[in-house]
Amino acid sequence: MEAVVLERVSKSFGDARAVDALDLVVPTGQIAGFIGPNGAGKTTTMRMILSILVPDSGALRVLGQPRATDCQDRIGYLPEERGLYKKMRVGAFLAYMARLKGVRDKDLRGNIERWLARLELEGAYGKRCEELSKGMQQKVQFAAAVLHEPDLLVLDEPFSGLDPVSGSVLRELVLEQHRAGRTILFSTHRMQEAQQLCDHVFMIHHGKKVLDTSCAALEASGDGRAILVELEGDAGVEALERLPAVENVARAGRALRLALREGADPAAVIREIAAAARVRRVEVVRASLEEIFLRLARTADHPGSDA
């Protein structure tokens, strides 16, 4: 069963088309990454999934319902706009959000304190929200999103602004939610995060979907490979750049990373590299999601210029 289904969903603000005929399917229990640059339409799509915004056209189903408002208590949401009542105490805020989501737990306070402890926010229960740092406030919002044990967790840029330690704690908690069987849809413009966490990725650009694939399929496909080359000396870089199958050459520490054009045969390219320069090491690597994204974005911006 699918947790989220979007069929040709569109949304415009004035003359600006934020989301354009978007199709999307997130199966239940999957952790899906929604990637794209700032302004791609990720937040608008998420807001439509949550019924905060109404689509101009298209159909939408969330947890089997035509609107998220019919199943709000089964959804947890961490918005990109981090907002808390400044004067409200953390415990009171979390209790308020939990009650809005239908939690009638007699041990609500104990539950909140357990979550705060897991987020390394011991002692924050009685503090005013304004007394917390931005990162801590973000963790409090994450707690608000998961306290009611939702079936679907929608996280908009959940790791942005966090220090590496806090980011790692939150990543582990997201994975734990996934292991507990929850469906997770999270957006990010940092491709590395999506690669680390996701079963499936959607990529949108200018409101249009440009990639919709599982991470396993992405890795299994030959598409998007790159070759790592370490030269003996500096000579030969220009020769590598001129190779017809090479899209671009970038420094990767002491090595060079050659992104291959779509359809290029890595074995043939390795032979061409050996002929063009004195090589110490050659290694076929998979292109990062970031490289794939950049290529897809370029293709979308300048159709026919590539591929």
Binding site: R47, L50, S51, I52, L53, V54, T69, Q72, I75, Y77, P79, E81, R82, G83, L84, Y85, K86, K87, M88, Y96, M97, R99, L100, K101, G102, Q141, A144, V154
Partner: protein
């Protein structure tokens, strides 16, 4: 719409508002403080209680017999508050010691300072000149610092009256008779209405309706302002989106309005309680009946719901209070109309203008309350119609507000133009 979610939002709104320091100090403590000041300050500033005698040097030889009974009655003409403030708890204990004409006034006045407080203390020395019955020569009154200003002035008044009495007696005229003849009679105004004849002062007849309308107006706007403030705070603190993931815009709007209705009713109850106390002290308890209080609450709910709908719509499209105030200006001017028209409406509560304005939203509730508090009874159908029209206008206002609220609540930056907001109504 989930009633549970509406109640959770309303409860938070109520608790957050009434526990805020600004609300407790500004809305609840301030009126209680003012009432406390009015009740207790006169007691605090009252002079220490004194007793003793007034020494009289009567060089005219005719004033003393008239002054002795007057001094016992020295406080008779004072009002209750002045009487309470006086340092003489029991004026009948005051004694007049008539001294020989030839005494040394300087020595006698010095005794006022020297004497210890107590029944034998000297509180004042009055010196009536020999010619005071002939040409109005001023008399001298020396008073102790222990004698308060109220009693000083009352004593001076009684001495002057005693001199007049002596003059009249010397002329062979009956002073008591003259005083009876020149006393100006007071009027007792009775207003005759369909409900009967009511004895009420003109001032009360005009001011009471205004006081009730002002109370309704002030409480409505206080609660409306509180709603607007929390809404703008939620927007500026970016809490709105997380709330809208848990409740629908209509549930949020309804919960916030409901919470603030309760806040307004608390404020209204506080002020009505104080008003009832003040009216009771002024011996006008009949002006605020329980029926009147209930109708006031009903009209508050209607007036507030309309204003709250407007406040919510405006609050949803702005990020700060300053922008909200400029958008609200036209509606504030419109809702202030009853303040400008109170005098003609209070004087002629059954005039065509008054009747028509009772049914014009959003000012109908204010005009009706103004008319309700006037002595002339209002036909029941007019009260009912005013409530029905008000309720209908509230339904339209909330429907409109919900449309604007739904879209506007996620907008940040410059408020959209009116034309854009109107286009949201058709969505």
């Amino acid at each position: 719409m989930s009633v549970r979610k509406v109640l959770v939002v309303a409860l938070r709104e109520l608790v957050a508002t009434v526990t805020a320091r600004g609300f407790v100090i500004g809305v609840l403590l301030m009126p209680l403080l003012i009432a406390g000041v009015i009740a207790f300050i006169p007691r605090l500033i009252r002079m220490p209680s004194v007793s003793g005698s007034i020494a009289l040097v009567d060089r005219s030889g005719a004033v003393a017999p008239h002054l002795v009974p007057r001094v016992r009655d020295v406080m008779a003409d004072l009002g209750p508050i002045s009487r309470r403030r006086s340092s003489i708890a029991d004026p009948t204990s005051l004694r007049v010691d008539v001294l020989p004409e030839g005494v040394d006034v300087a020595v006698e006045t010095a005794r006022m300072v020297a004497a210890a407080p107590g029944p034998d203390a000297r509180l004042a020395v009055a010196v009536i000149p020999e010619t005071s019955l002939d040409d109005g020569t001023p008399f001298d009154l020396y008073t102790s610092s222990r004698l308060d200003i109220v009693l000083q002035s009352a004593l001076a008044e009684q001495i002057a009256e005693a001199i007049v009495d002596a003059r009249l007696e010397r002329s062979g005229i009956d002073a008591a008779r003259i005083r009876t003849l020149v006393k100006r009679p007071q009027s007792v105004t009775r207003t005759v209405t369909a409900a009967g004849t009511e004895e009420i002062a003109e001032l009360t007849r005009i001011l009471m309706p205004f006081a009730f309308m002002m109370l309704l107006w002030a409480v409505t706007f206080t609660a409306g302002q509180l709603l607007l403030t929390t809404l703008v705070e939620e927007k500026s603190q970016r809490v709105m989106e997380v709330l809208l993931s848990a409740v629908s815009p209509l549930e949020l709007l309804t919960g916030k309005i409901l919470g603030n209705v309760c806040v307004g009713l608390i404020v209204l109850a506080v002020y009505l309680g104080l008003g009832a106390g003040a009216l009771s002290a002024l011996r006008l308890p009949h002006v605020l009946s329980s029926g009147m209080a209930l109708l006031l609450c009903a009209f508050f709910v209607v007036a507030f719901l309309f204003l709250a709908a407007i406040m919510a719509a405006v609050g949803s499209v702005v990020d700060d209070l300053r922008s909200a105030q400029s958008l609200l200006s036209p509606i504030l001017v419109l809702m202030s109309t009853p303040l400008l028209l109170w005098l003609p409406i209070a004087r002629e509560p059954s005039s065509t203008l008054a009747v028509v304005l009772s049914f014009v939203p959003p000012i109908g509730p204010f005009v009706t309350v103004l008319r309700l508090a006037s002595p002339e009874p209002l036909p029941v159908w007019q009260i009912a119609l005013s409530l029905v029209v008000g309720a209908a206008s509230v339904v339209v206002a909330i429907w409109t507000s919900a449309k604007v609220f739904r879209v506007g609540v996620l907008l940040y930056g410059k408020p959209p133009p009116l034309r854009t907001m109107l286009s949201w109504l058709t969505r």
